[in-house]
């Protein structure tokens, strides 16, 4: 168990104001951290900070043990542009290797092999030459997951990955992510889906303008904030 990210009393936001503050949490290798929060609670700002794209206003975010923001494989939310984008699965997965190439302009044998192996690992090798826009939502997420794994193999950061998927595909994706986590990859997942969050995650970070909870999932279930949130979620879905 080694620490990969340490966040100490960090405040995040833009020039005109703080979005969220008082963030204190640690991600160890092999952790499965779920970040919960309402819309506008600063989740997307936190993602940018973790990826090293937006420096914190105050406090500290530290990447430890030779681990850097570049070692995080990122699975962003889908954009409208992608829905009618002509690209083969192979092209999308290969583009994850770009960060390993520096200024070298073309894919070499090593990158092609990495892409192929990752596709095999996620069970999408048969889709290699299929068109991305013609895949089902679940298959598309697998492709993007493969791309993220090509970019970084130690930690994955998933931004609401099950949005728009049917229940069956959601379960499949959660199981796949859990499998990757068991193989030693740390997972950070931003989610609305609290039921799955408490089922799969080892740790929960709950934010809303400021940090409400950070700790083990079992502790979260017994905490006042956790109880309240789960109850509210249950009522909404009745």
């Amino acid at each position: 168990m080694s620490e990969q990210i340490i966040c100490k009393n960090a405040a995040l936001g833009y020039e005109d104001g703080i979005v969220t503050e008082g963030l204190n949490f640690t991600v160890n290798s092999g952790d499965y951290l779920c970040i919960l929060g309402e819309n506008g609670s600063g989740k997307s700002t936190l993602i940018k900070a973790l990826l090293g794209l937006k420096p914190q206003i105050s406090g500290e975010i530290k990447w430890c043990g030779g681990f850097s923001a570049k070692d995080i494989g990122y699975l962003p939310q889908q954009t409208p542009v992608q829905r009618d984008f002509p690209a083969s699965v192979r092209e999308v997965v290969l583009s994850g290797c770009l960060s390993k190439m520096g200024f070298f302009p073309f894919y070499r044998a090593a990158e092609k092999k990495l892409a192929k192996d990752t596709m095999k690992q996620l069970g999408i090798e048969s889709l290699e030459n299929k068109c991305y826009r013609e895949l089902s939502g679940g298959q598309q997420q697998r492709v993007l997951l493969a791309r993220a794994l090509c970019a970084a193999s130690r930690m994955l950061l998933l931004d609401e990955p099950v949005t728009g998927l049917d229940p069956h595909a959601q379960t499949e994706l959660y199981e796949l992510v859990a499998k990757l986590n068991k193989s030693g990859i740390s997972i950070i997942m931003v989610s609305h889906d609290i039921a799955s969050a408490v089922k799969y995650a080892s740790h929960i970070l709950h934010i809303s303008k400021k940090q409400l909870f950070f700790g083990k999932t079992s502790d979260y279930l017994n905490s006042p904030v956790g109880k309240k949130y789960i109850e509210g979620w249950g009522n909404e879905n009745e």
Binding site: L51, L53, K70, I72, Y74, L75, P76, T79, V81, Q82, F85, P86, A87, S88, R90, E91, V92, L94, S95, G96, L98, S99, M101, P105, F106, Y107, N129, C131, R133, E134, L144, R147, A148, A151
Partner: protein
């Protein structure tokens, strides 16, 4: 048939016709390569806006009486490309509105300048020429051809070297940012190269019709092909074939060059759409 061929042979014995052909094919090739990215990034409107800016810049350059008008047109258009890209993101006037504003202003000011400081006695012919590129392509000198040749080479090299990164930035900007690709820089380069192509293409098809050269081949190719590479290659081929066909037809039928090329592009688009509809039904 042999009559047609001998007519063509007769025309192609003139160097200016050969120049027109070379410039036409090169411009068509570059425009189509970039077009794929621009269409997919929803940047088609930038091409349109820039072409109007180039028109305004050309009118201003004509007023100053400089012989080499590129000195003014090129920097103004490139600068506008950079500004348009900036305004596209976070300003009070939204991207599409600001483009519309800039393009009509450039058109209006260009037209005013041309009327207040007439360069020749026939103003409407001048305006028509720069908007629709009626005859200017046949006035190219070998210097213009060389300039076009060098610019095209730069565009082609840029595109080949950064092909994979352009794909990544086009497909998913947030992911490429996260993996350390400077996507803002690539967006900027794409905008600058677009500006360069538009300025060169202005001689060929005129400023009103340039967008067609950029978007049509990409749209046609996307109807049938399903990977980024095949779309790019197909767009380049469609564009070059249509440009060649358009130039030859315009010679044989004595129609305006630019408009004929665009008509050929439209025809190709309709054919590809037809094929894709038929394939989808099967």
């Amino acid at each position: 048939m042999s009559e047609l061929i001998s007519t063509l042979q007769y025309y192609f014995s003139y160097p200016f016709v050969r120049y027109a052909m070379i410039v036409g094919l090169l411009v068509a090739l570059c425009a189509s390569l970039l077009g794929v990215t621009l269409v997919l990034k929803r940047f088609s409107f930038i091409g349109d806006g820039l072409s109007h800016v180039a028109f305004g810049a050309m009118a201003a350059a004509a007023v100053t009486g400089i012989t080499d008008r590129m000195i003014i047109i090129m920097p103004v258009t490139v600068l506008s490309a950079v500004l348009l890209l900036r305004t596209g993101k976070n300003t009070k006037i939204k991207g599409d509105a600001s483009i519309a504003m800039i393009s009509v202003s450039a058109l209006a000011i260009g037209y005013i300048l041309m009327n207040v400081f007439p360069v020749s006695s026939n103003i409407s012919a001048d305006v028509c020429g720069s908007l629709f590129g009626s005859t200017s392509i046949l006035n190219l000198k070998s210097g213009d051809v060389w300039l076009c040749f060098i610019m095209s080479a730069i565009v082609l090299i840029f595109f080949t070297l950064f092909y994979n990164k352009i794909f990544s930035v086009t497909f998913d900007e947030s992911f490429s940012k996260a993996t350390g690709i400077n996507s803002d820089l690539y967006n900027l380069m794409i905008a600058v190269v677009t500006a360069v192509i538009i300025v060169i293409a202005m001689n060929l098809v005129g400023s009103l019709l340039i967008s067609a050269l950029i978007i049509f081949p990409a749209l046609s190719a996307m109807r049938l092909f399903k990977s980024f590479k095949s779309v790019t290659i197909c767009a380049a081929i469609i564009s070059v074939v249509c440009a060649g066909l358009g130039i030859i037809l315009s010679i044989l039928l004595s129609t305006p060059v630019g408009a004929t090329i665009v008509a050929a592009d439209l025809a190709a688009f309709l054919v590809f759409s037809g094929i894709s509809t038929v394939c989808a039904r099967k």
